[in-house]
Symmetry: C2
Subunit: 335 residues, 2 copies
């Protein structure tokens, strides 16, 4: 949800009985502190801070030059001067400074994507009192996370929008659907499993519970909330989306992520070997995304979305959260 | 299940309260009659005959020659003389002769994959008294099938083993997971929806029911039954399979299908533009499959499997069917 989440969104979710989350991968420690401050100014509910745990390689100059050349025709078509482009925010891995922010801010929950930080940082997070969650896309990853002390595992099915959490798995074509993944992870680990991917309404929540999940994680559904920072073009694309209108693509960041298959995704990807390694692909794409939006077209925009999007409707986050919980409860009672 | 199904398997399923099915795509009308006769000799339960509805183009000689050249090194490595290869059975579309067999044999249910046969054949099947099912992989396909008179829609999620039923959808990378697909199809159509894909045990059945499915279809689970015609190498591969060990591949037939990612799939595919159109790719691959199995290796074998395979265990089909129904019932009662 990085870039789309807000303190208002997270606070509304937590106030309604859910666990609101702030995406920290694009934030400096000062920005994290500001976001948590904004959340706490309007909520005393529980808070989850989410971090990425990738290895941050230096920019590969040759790969970057090739990428710039690949994108040059689009820069030209959109009237962007490559020399006038301001530096873009790049996704940062969880590090000592982010860990210090956690120790100071003391969120109830910290979640990680792409594995876990090094053991010393992980231990500091645990000692801060936070419960630690992390994403697994197969059984091997789930066992790896459990062995290192995660308190719960997010089983991220292939339907999920945004970045695939895969960190031992290598092939996006082999990612597993939620229906098959959740019970296999539940069977493999002793900690609670949180189901993610393709869950758009109460039916999916009830289904996930029967698969053995202790809880569910929804992202796309909350992109439809007025509290989310989603541009009108993105929201319209979400509302017009069909389940088979998304695809796993690496063209925005270098790592496979599920998003709406627009012109940029189809022409350059969806999965391309010419893309620089995560997260550096994003720096050259950021100007295209911005110019596309400014020109009133979503053709070059990064629009993460899961396959459950057509199940979602525009409504305030608190109302959505309460409705999901209540409707799932009624569904499960009825049988 | 074509090639793996048996009359004994279907009869055991029907005797236990399920709907046993015979795969007819590889059978002549005489072979269909023989299979139905074998079923009825041991069962008076309901029977489903499944047919494919593809367009049967003539062999494209140029594509076939290129395919033969691509496979030549494997023929050589496995010691196959291309001139000594007997003609292989090829998947046939539902036609007048198959329809006449249906009219004579009067199965309770006829199901179609890859769309529907032409209207005159479809009407003859309906007039025979059979209920007609067909597979949809997205909402558009489900609406198309409903508009033409199908009595129920099989919503085939991306987790499913074997051929993708896609006939309006074109891109296998955009196929939708069961968790997201089923409720969207349920919302779109008025007829009952049968969930397929990633369902390996009672938890998946209960989950599918909460997604709105009226019933479920399991294939991979029945490959583990002693009544199935599954070779020891295939069964061992199924038992050792992990959820992310399968992939959508077109190298065996020309149409995307989910199977175990072995050497042949990885080296030639998994999805290749060099493969002749369905179903003709299979004729050149058949000798490789046979020689591989004869040599005691599964490296070149066609081993369809869904992502739920790790949830499945070896047990007789009747026992499996009764256990699935009872365990799902208990699960749904408990909540």
């Amino acid at each position: 949800m990085a870039g789309c989440d807000t303190a208002q969104l997270a606070a509304a979710v937590s106030a309604a009985g859910g666990l609101g989350s702030l995406a920290c991968a694009l934030l400096s420690p000062a920005q994290i502190a500001a976001a948590v401050g904004a959340f706490r100014a309007i909520s005393n509910g529980p808070l989850n801070l989410n971090f990425f745990c990738h290895t941050m390689d230096p920019v590969d100059e040759a790969a970057d030059a090739a990428w710039a050349a690949r994108l040059a025709p689009y820069y030209e078509a959109l009237g962007i001067d490559p020399r006038s482009v301001p530096p873009a925010a790049v996704r940062r891995p969880f590090d000592d400074a982010a860990c210090a922010a956690v120790e100071t801010l003391r969120p109830q929950v910290v979640s990680f994507h792409f594995g876990l930080p090094q053991a010393s940082l992980f231990e500091r997070v645990k000692r801060s009192g936070a419960a630690v969650l992390a994403s697994a896309t197969n059984v091997e990853e789930a066992l790896w996370l459990q062995a290192r002390g995660c308190d719960a595992i997010i089983a991220q099915g292939a339907e999920a929008g945004g970045h695939r959490g895969m960190f031992l798995a290598r092939d996006p074509a082999k990612q597993v659907g939620t229906m098959a993944l959740v019970p296999q992870v539940v069977d493999a680990v002793d900690v609670p499993v949180i189901a993610a991917g393709g869950i758009g309404d109460a039916r999916g929540i009830a289904a996930a519970r029967f698969l053995g999940a202790a809880a569910v994680q929804l992202g796309t559904a909350y992109l439809f909330c007025p509290e989310a920072k989603v541009s009108p073009l993105y929201l319209r694309a979400l509302q017009e989306l069909r389940a088979d209108g998304t695809v796993l693509t690496n063209v925005f960041s270098g790592h496979p992520a599920r998003g709406i298959a627009n012109r940029f995704v189809e022409e350059v990807g969806p999965l391309s070997d010419a893309v620089p390694r995560f997260p550096h692909a994003s720096e050259r794409v950021a100007p295209l995304r911005a110019a596309s939006e400014a020109a009133g077209t979503s053709e070059f925009m990064q629009m993460w979305a899961g396959q459950g999007a057509p199940l979602c409707r525009v409504r305030p986050a608190g109302e959505l959260t309460r409705a999901l919980a209540q409707e799932a409860h009624v569904l499960m009672k009825r049988h």
